[in-house]
């Protein structure tokens, strides 16, 4: 019976052969099997192999070496086309039980180590210098910061503080005759209408003002017949309910406009460059080429929706209506019910951001701990009015006035895919409708987990719905689900087929 099986050790001679005769692949032998087998038989001191046996021998070798040898077939028959020498080394190492030597890396490591020892040995290096060295950000942080910097989605405009500019632009944009003739119902013109007025009247003011109006933000004083300038600014500004009769001064904010398309094209270029350079550390590997999921939302009573329908999320944002006053509008959760929500089902590891107000900070922290999170940070939202001033009056808190709100940040598990230390833990943003939170949070979360990570907002409203996010709560209108699996499970629990 001819031999048709070889043990791993019996291939060692073949590996040696290939290393010695690496010319066997080249002309004139050209890797042709009938030539190689002759050479191999003379090299090894074992019983010579026939061509068929040699083919079986190679077959066996490929099965233990993860196809180290690649074949090609042409008119001359089977040829060895390519030999992967790294794989040869791995087989050799495995058979002999010796660890593979990655010489290059080892040398580097030794160098760094000796550098560090040398550094620590030098007497000039004080303790502070070493601490300083340790306190440097990691390369990962530096890289992800740079990447986020490239991807900032919108332009930024300075505020012009030249009162002359604001006065002139106010006269041009807010002359009441124009407002009443163009738009009898609307109190203020739209931004587009303002820029039409500015273009039409540009002969009336200097080029400087014209240019400035298109590049900076201006707060235009609204001078009505009942306005008394010596009274100063209205403390409610643009949220004043009695603007038509209020004698204090109000302002109209004229911000420069851009076409969103320009910015989108610019960003597309950045994404393409990042894609080509595979700059995806901490994000999904297809971060820059995949389409972002459309917005999804489910109108539901959060207490009754089985969370298993939703799947798992990398980031969760929630703004519960904490029942500090015990009088609840219909459908809101009590604190006890909130604590009982099976939040542990929504995340294996990831971040949860929870909005709290004054007296609910403590219960919010308790809830996060109960749901399995460690409190990693506390972001504050500095609430500003139209003129970017903090809110300092109006008995907004029980003992002191409140100029800020807190966003608790919990971390579950130890996810390696978190891109941390990109943003700062203070958000500075205008107040809007009652209890509406700043949108800055969404970009901040996306910088941490990436735009394709699954993200959930609990107790969201219609204005919270956005691409890449799932929004649930009893205040969203209707239900829209895009992900197949969620849709399937949602139908399953609702008995729709």
């Amino acid at each position: 019976m001819t031999k048709d099986f070889w043990h791993a050790e019996e291939y060692m001679i073949f590996i040696e052969f290939l290393k010695t005769y690496d010319s066997v692949l080249r002309d004139p032998r050209g890797g042709k099997l009938q030539n190689v087998v002759i050479l191999f038989n003379t090299y090894s001191d074992q019983p010579p192999l026939t061509l068929e046996q040699f083919e079986l021998y190679l077959d066996g070798f490929n099965s233990i070496s993860d196809n180290a040898i690649e074949f090609k077939k042409d008119v001359w028959g089977q040829r060895i086309h390519f030999v992967d020498t790294d794989k040869l080394e791995l087989v050799k190492a495995r058979v002999s039980g010796v660890a593979t030597k990655w010489t290059v890396k080892k040398v580097e490591l030794e160098d760094n180590l000796s550098n560090l020892i040398e550094f620590l040995d030098t007497e000039d290096n004080s303790y502070e210098e070493i601490i300083n060295l340790i306190n440097q950000p990691t390369a990962k942080i530096v890289l992800s910061k740079t990447r986020s910097k490239l991807m900032v989605p919108q332009p930024f405009f300075e505020v012009c503080t030249d009162p002359q500019h604001c006065k002139v632009l106010s006269r041009v944009c807010l002359s009441r005759t124009e407002i009443s003739s163009n738009n009898p119902k609307q109190i203020f013109p739209s931004i587009d209408e303002c820029y039409i007025s500015i273009d039409n009247n540009r002969h009336l003011f200097s080029k400087g003002i014209y240019g400035c109006s298109k590049s900076k933000i201006h707060h235009l004083p609204i001078i009505n017949t009942h306005t008394e300038l010596n009274l100063g600014d209205c403390s409610y500004l643009d949220t004043c309910h009695k603007m038509k009769s209020c004698r204090y001064l109000h302002y109209f904010t004229l911000s420069p406009s851009i076409t969103p398309i320009d910015r989108a094209e610019e960003l597309q270029k950045v994404r393409k460059a990042l894609y080509e350079q595979e700059f995806t550390l901490g994000y999904c590997f297809s971060e820059f080429c995949k389409e972002i999921l459309p917005p999804q939302w489910i109108n539901c009573d959060v207490r009754k929706l089985p969370f298993k329908v939703l799947g798992k999320f990398s980031a969760i944002v929630s703004d519960p209506a904490w029942d500090i006053h015990m009088s609840l509008p219909y459908g809101t959760c009590s604190d006890a019910e909130l604590m009982e929500l099976p939040m542990h089902e929504l995340q294996d590891e990831g971040i949860m951001l929870l909005w709290v107000t004054g007296r609910s900070i403590e219960i919010g922290r308790k809830a996060l701990r109960k749901w399995g999170y460690t409190i990693k940070d506390e972001v504050i939202w500095i609430k500003l009015n139209q003129l970017k001033r903090t809110i300092v009056t109006g008995r907004t808190g029980h003992w002191l006035n409140h100029s800020k709100e807190h966003l608790l940040v919990g971390l579950k598990g130890n996810p390696s895919w978190i891109n941390n230390m990109i943003d700062i833990n203070t958000i500075v943003s205008n107040t809007r409708e009652t209890s509406r939170k700043p949108d800055e949070v969404y970009d901040m979360v996306e910088r941490i987990v990436g735009v394709h990570a699954r993200k959930l907002e609990i107790f969201g409203r219609d204005h919270n719905i956005r691409p890449g996010w799932m929004t649930i709560g009893n205040q969203v209108t209707g239900t829209s689900i895009v992900e197949e699996e969620v849709l399937y499970k949602y139908h399953e629990i609702n008995n729709i087929n």
Partner: protein, 299 residues
């Protein structure tokens, strides 16, 4: 079609590293545009100054600090109405001291505690207040102080294992005993200050805590006995004294505190109020202040 753009300071920070707080237009003068509030604060400062005991320091080594306080409470039955603990410094290990200090004896009732802390310590601090002090000090406000410049000596050291860069110093205001917001106007004045303070450009020299936070304590509480404990050496310039406060620290500039002299000074300086066998040392208030201060609705 044009889209109105609202400036996004978070994105702007990522792009330029310019701190969002730099765009707050009243950060150097929070009450700009509120002349009545301005006057009220000036009047309050005047009263505080008028009733203040002289600036006192008690220089004690860290390891003798708890013992010193124990002696104050045991031998002299010394009590304070406002006690601030810690300051803006990393690794100040205030938590360890909180466990050891006889705060329930040292703090009068009603009394107010201001504890400096950082986000990493919030959980441990909650545990200590609940377990060591049986929830007797109720966390009532969380003050935040923001250095506005990354080169500031107050700017916090960054810990790169965090999720966000840190710009905040936190100071908890805790209350023990009962004070009523609407009826105890001789004891407390609510809603004069806010829970957010910014580093001020005019604050040039180094001090362990910003004056604005001392002022919050003085404006809120009308009690006259104030103590500030900074348990560790900061290794910087010495801690400065403040009128109306006793500062207990290994680092304090002067060592001029004596419990008996302090008692005498308090007696002569304060407005004395007797309530249920208890003496309250207060800062007298004026009618003008009463007219100007923010009040609860319906009052």
């Amino acid at each position: 079609m044009f889209k109105k753009i609202e400036n996004n300071f978070a994105n702007h920070y990522v792009e330029t590293q310019e701190l969002p707080s730099g765009f707050v237009t009243n950060s150097s003068d929070l009450i700009k545009g509120y002349p009545k509030l301005q006057t009220l604060k000036e009047l309050k400062a005047k009263q505080t100054e008028k009733y203040a005991v002289k600036a006192l320091g008690c220089r004690v080594k860290t390891r003798d600090l708890v013992q010193t306080v124990n002696r104050w409470t045991e031998e002299f039955k010394l009590q304070f109405d406002v006690i601030m603990i810690g300051c803006m410094a990393n690794n100040q290990r205030v938590l360890k001291f909180l466990k050891e200090l006889p705060l329930l004896k040292l703090c009068s009732k009603p009394g107010f505690l201001f504890i400096w802390t950082t986000v990493d310590e919030i959980e441990s601090l909650t545990t200590i207040l609940n377990q060591n002090y049986g929830k007797k000090f109720r966390r009532s406000e969380e003050l935040v102080f923001l250095p506005v410049n990354k080169n500031s000596i107050f700017y916090p050291q960054q810990d790169y294992s965090r999720l966000f860069e840190n710009q905040q110093w936190n100071c908890w205001m805790c209350i023990t005993g009962t004070v009523r917001r609407s009826n105890d106007q001789h004891l407390i004045h609510c809603n004069i200050d806010t829970d957010l303070q910014f580093e001020n450009e005019s604050l040039v020299s180094y001090n362990a805590v910003p004056n604005s936070v001392y002022k919050i304590a003085e404006n809120f509480s009308n009690f006259n006995r104030r103590l500030h404990i900074i348990p560790y050496e900061l290794g910087k310039t010495p801690i400065k004294l403040r009128h109306g406060w006793v500062i207990l620290s290994p680092d304090v500039l002067l060592n001029n505190f004596n419990p008996l002299d302090y008692e005498t000074q308090l007696q002569s300086k304060s407005l004395i109020n007797y309530k249920n066998n208890q003496v309250q040392y207060l800062v007298g208030q004026t009618k003008e202040i009463e007219d100007l201060r923010p009040k609860s609705p319906g009052k």
